[in-house]
């Protein structure tokens, strides 16, 4: 039994209603426990947090950090790393490269160094699940998992077309079992299959996916319902059709209404909130106000933002036709990777510029989302790393949310039309530390259904981040004084002092075993690998944790 006492810190623990109270936190064997009642109780180690801001470890619920697409981006863009400061090998830690797509070891250290202790990769094709787990095993310190791409899966579409909700539900559960995945992800449902079978895309949620005879609307509703019935800890995670297209707000609104009350998480919502004519970039504008108003009044929905920051980065997506679109728009090198029966992929390097009307509006639209969703528990911080920007930009985003003058300064450096085409300049709201603690840890943990993450009450993982208060908010959040992961001090004054491995989080819902024969028959007639070689064995997961269904 090992114990750690963190004493005298100013605690922000929104899940337990703690808003800046001074107190102690006790961690025994990696978990937070009640402070002992007896006087003079001693811990194996005591950290003096007097004067420090204490929060639960950060939780990134949507990023791209492992698996085939991420690794392909690493391979494709060496120039991105050459100019970035590397992570240098130490006596305890491995070396790595950074840029917009850090290598695995660097990813773990950089998240931990920023006070984040959990991160979820948002898009893994099932056939690449074994690869993703291998990378996650080489991603130190943080706890992690991934969402499984299902929105263009042939079996999913066949069962929806055949009106077989039982088989659909069984398949989703079987697929999560087989991949050791955490949640169901839809990426441009139906549209990627249209792209794969001859080119093109779905233009709206009622387009028909030929050969399968289903629409995006049917896929969205079918999977959302199945996920609810399975009681998965996280609802269906939706990347809507028409990402990035001017005028796509209508598709986003239709997607939300098509759920008919089922739970859903709408991801990188910034990229789906645009006004304008799809064929004319100059008509680009914001429609956040009405979309946020809908979210505010529908508590089956949560969102993360997908904030765009002005920098060089990499667009990587399971949305194959989007990759092609970005390649045409930017003229940059392009990777596309179609995966049998399951998914697509697009990768294009991209530079977001403050002087670009479209890019600056994307930046402003992301901030509008943070400022227009009333309940911070319903919105999570994300850059859709690395799509809108690196996860390393979170401290800068925090500073923008806490300081309206800073936002206005940046806005002043953007093309003048930006301010006219969105509401940002009128938004005076400033986030408090308590609210920052919600959107960066407590909220995302709750959205993921992780009862042991994002808070500091008894039973929580002993993941704690301590910051030195600083007028420079960005610096404060970039350089935590201490980071504790499951009771172990892993970061002390910007140094990794313990190279822990972290755990893999996945789900294992119950399902009808009789469905497996049908799945196997379909699998064996279509895939290029053997059915028995598809499921990922337990030995690929280091210290796995099965998160229960409800």
């Amino acid at each position: 039994m090992s114990s750690l006492r963190i004493t005298g810190g100013t605690i922000y623990d929104p899940a337990n209603g703690v808003d800046g109270q001074v107190g102690d936190i006790w961690i025994v064997d990696g978990c937070v426990v009640e402070s002992p009642s007896e006087e003079g109780a001693k811990a194996d180690r005591t950290l003096d947090a007097t004067g420090l801001v204490v929060m639960p470890g950060g939780v990134d619920m949507h990023c791209h950090i492992a698996g085939p697409k991420v690794n392909t981006a690493r391979k494709m863009i060496p120039e991105d790393k050459r100019t970035a400061d590397p992570v240098v090998r130490t006596r305890l830690t491995r070396s790595g490269t950074v840029g917009s797509v850090p290598s695995t070891f660097a990813t773990g250290y950089l998240y931990a160094g920023m006070g984040y202790t959990t991160a979820m990769d948002a898009a893994v094709p099932p056939l690449g699940a074994r690869h993703a787990h291998e990378e996650l095993e080489d991603t130190p310190i943080i706890d992690k998992g991934f969402y499984v791409l299902m929105g263009n899966n042939h079996y999913v579409m066949k069962q929806i077309a055949a009106d077989e909700p039982g088989l659909l539900k069984a398949y989703i559960a079987w697929l999560l079992h087989s991949t050791k995945g955490f949640a169901a992800k839809l990426v441009n449902p139906g549209g990627v299959e249209i792209w794969k079978s001859g080119g093109g895309n779905a233009r709206g949620i009622d387009d028909t996916v030929e050969h399968f005879g289903v629409t995006p609307r049917q896929i969205i509703r079918g999977v959302a319902a199945a996920v609810d019935e399975l009681g998965l800890p996280h609802p269906v995670h939706i990347h809507c059709n028409n990402l990035g297209m001017p005028g796509n707000h209508a598709t986003t609104m239709e997607t939300m209404t098509s759920l008919e009350g089922h739970r859903a998480h709408m991801t990188h919502i910034q990229f789906h909130s645009y006004d304008g004519d799809p064929d004319d970039q100059s008509t680009f504008g914001s429609r956040v106000s009405e979309l946020a108003a809908y979210v505010n009044t529908h508590d089956n929905l949560t969102v993360d933002v997908g904030q765009v920051m002005f920098a060089r980065t990499t667009s990587m997506t399971g949305d194959g036709p989007l990759g092609y679109f970005l390649h045409q728009v930017t003229g940059r090198k392009w990777f596309s990777g179609d995966i049998e029966m399951e998914a697509g992929c697009g990768i294009v390097p991209i530079v977001y510029k403050q002087k670009s009307l479209v890019h600056a509006l994307q930046w402003a639209i992301g901030l509008e989302w943070y400022l227009l969703v009333d309940d911070p528990w319903r919105i999570a911080m994300s850059t859709d790393h690395p799509n809108g920007g690196s996860f390393l930009a979170y401290p800068e985003i925090i500073s923008l949310l806490m300081d309206r003058e800073l936002r206005r300064e940046v806005l002043a450096g953007a093309p003048r039309a930006v301010a006219d085409r969105c509401t940002l300049k009128e938004l005076d709201r400033e986030y408090s530390l308590y609210e920052i603690a919600i959107i960066t840890r407590a909220g995302p943990a709750r959205m993921l259904g992780l009862s042991h993450k994002g808070h500091l009450g008894p039973g929580a993982d002993g993941d704690v981040t301590m910051y030195s208060p600083d007028d420079d908010i960005q610096r404060m959040f970039e350089l935590p004084r201490y980071v504790v992961s499951r009771g172990e001090v892993v970061v002390d004054d910007a140094q990794i002092v313990q190279d822990t491995r972290g755990r893999t989080l996945h789900v294992a819902p119950d399902f009808d075993l009789d469905a497996v024969d049908d799945i196997q028959a379909w699998f064996e007639s279509t895939y290029s690998i053997q059915f028995r070689n598809y499921p990922v064995g337990d030995h690929y997961l280091l210290d796995p944790l099965v998160v229960p269904t409800s």
Binding site: V70, R74, K75, M76, P78, V87, V88, T90, R91, T93, R94, S95, G96, T97, V101, S103, T104, A106, Y109, L110, A112, L127, G128, R130, H131, E134, W174, H177, K196, S197, G198, G199, H327, W334, F335, S336, G337, D338, I339, M341, I347, V491, Q495, I496, A508, D510, L513, V516, T526, Y527, S528, I529, Q530, F531, R532, N533, P535, V536, G537, H539
Partner: protein
């Protein structure tokens, strides 16, 4: 876990590396059948092998091609010592001690090979190289390295082999002879199988072979284009021009060896296709132009997507060379030719690639895993490799193992040991070993070496100051 496994059939997931159902010692005469085993001989990584095992020998390999059969039948247990130190038989422990000593005392160690080993072992090899600050390079640098460089220039439009099987109605093989190098590629993935969108199989596909000579693969093709040697780039560029609707004159025949009329016929077919794929081999990457040839083919494929869907795929040779690319990339950020001697990864093919490093006489120790550079590198590179202490892991007593300071006899991946192998299309596939070997796996040996190196490094307080201050995450 409170929930049931998906089913016995579905989820008897490949388990730990020791999953072989019986050990060789207790089943010397017993006959066993291993289903869904994986052949790691070439980049096809066929995972539908049905192996019959008698004792410590595979006697039948159903579904295996001629190369696969040779692979399975020739890997039986040889009567050899666990290791050789300076040519003298030695035990594993002494050999691992000596290996760690050699690698730790080197100033410029080189790790090379890796493509015929599991990704689990590859990860440890990269870790060792990181801890000792060496170079890590793989056989990619002498096969499809130019395609990797081309990829960094123009990207790649590609797909998994099941996409080819299910959709491809126009297939071009370029600079390769799959009938002899990847014998099951035609039947399992690219030509013969019936697929979801090509229900009549071969009848629904048009096949083209482009090569400098008429190989056995030509029989399988509808069109054979005999390109003049060293003119692959020009041919790809001519097709790009036609794809863009530009005019070419008859002199293209003089340049490429192919009549203009034929090029038009091919391009018309390519544009009419619903889903085309170009599968290109080392005839493209290792001839004049090298990465420029790959780049031209990748660019042609990309351009064709303005008309219809086209994909390209390098035909990778070694069983897990694709895994090596992946492991080196996720660990360091770069695919091969990575220098870790400055404390962080740097990438420069030609400077940090093994054949070049050795030919310049630079490395002062080597760790060679599952590769035989002494039989295929240039003479200056071989001379230098023979002159420095090297640590070699190989199931066979290769020329490289013969010159090693420490040569480990290891078990064979996929036959004796489990683990993961990445097929040429980046699909990771688990291994189901057929019978146990008395020899340790690459993974076990490398872990032994790594733990020895780490023990010494962590005990050395002088490292504290020099390294720790330079580091940090902020």
């Amino acid at each position: 876990m409170s929930t049931p496994e998906p089913s016995n059939t579905a989820a008897s997931a490949p388990t730990a590396p020791t999953a072989a159902t019986a050990s060789s010692s207790e089943s010397s005469s017993e006959l066993r059948v291993i289903e869904d085993a994986t052949c790691t001989f070439c980049g096809c990584v066929c995972d539908d092998m049905e192996l019959t095992v008698e004792g410590n020998r595979i006697t039948k390999a159903k579904n295996a091609c001629v190369l696969g059969k040779a692979w399975f039948f020739n890997h039986h247990i040889e009567d050899r010592p666990e290791a050789l130190i300076d040519g003298e038989p030695a035990g594993y422990d002494a050999a691992m001690d000596r290996a760690a000593e050699i690698l730790l005392s080197a100033k410029f160690p080189l790790t090379y090979g890796l493509s015929d080993s599991t990704s689990e072992a590859q990860r440890v090899a990269v870790a060792i190289t990181d801890w000792i600050g060496g170079i890590v390079d793989t056989t990619t640098s002498v096969c499809h390295g130019p395609s990797g460089i081309a990829f960094q220039g123009v990207g790649e439009v590609t797909c998994s082999l099941g996409e080819v099987k299910n959709r491809a109605d126009y297939v071009i093989f370029w600079g390769g002879n799959p009938a002899e190098s990847h014998p099951r590629h035609f039947t399992k993935y690219s030509l013969m199988p019936k697929g979801e969108f090509v229900p009549r199989g071969r009848k629904d596909r048009t096949a083209v072979l482009i090569d400098v000579r008429k190989t056995k693969s030509a029989k399988a093709a509808d069109h054979f284009l005999q390109v003049k040697p060293r003119r692959d780039f020009e041919l790809a560029w001519a097709l790009r021009a036609l794809a863009h609707g530009l005019e070419l004159d008859e002199s293209i025949e003089e340049t490429t060896g192919i009549k203009l009329e034929k090029l038009h016929e091919i391009m018309d077919g390519m544009k009419r296709a619903k889903f085309g794929v170009i599968l290109f081999g080392m005839g493209v990457t290792m001839t004049r132009g090298k990465h420029l040839n790959s780049e031209a083919i990748l660019a042609l494929t990309r351009d064709m997507n303005q008309h219809t869907r086209w994909n390209a795929k390098p035909m990778r040779g070694h069983g897990n060379v694709t895994g090596a690319d992946n492991v080196v990339t996720w660990s360091t950020g770069y695919p091969f030719g990575v220098h870790l001697g400055s404390g962080f990864p740097r990438f420069n093919p030609g400077e940090f690639t093994a054949s070049d490093v050795l030919a310049r006489g630079e490395a002062d120790a080597a760790l060679i895993i599952a590769s035989d550079p002494m039989s295929n590198f240039s003479q200056p590179a071989r001379d230098h490799l023979a002159s420095i202490p090297s640590v070699v892991l190989d199931p066979k007593l290769t020329d490289t193992a013969r010159t090693a300071a420490v040569a480990f006899t290891v078990s064979t991946y996929g036959i004796n040991t489990g683990g993961t192998v990445y097929r040429m299309d980046d699909v990771p596939i688990p291994l189901r070993p057929a019978f146990e070997s008395p020899f340790k796996s690459d993974l076990e040996i490398l872990r032994g070496i790594e733990s020895r190196i780490r023990k010494i490094q962590l005990a050395d307080v002088s490292l504290d100051k020099s390294d720790e201050t330079a580091a940090g995450v902020a």
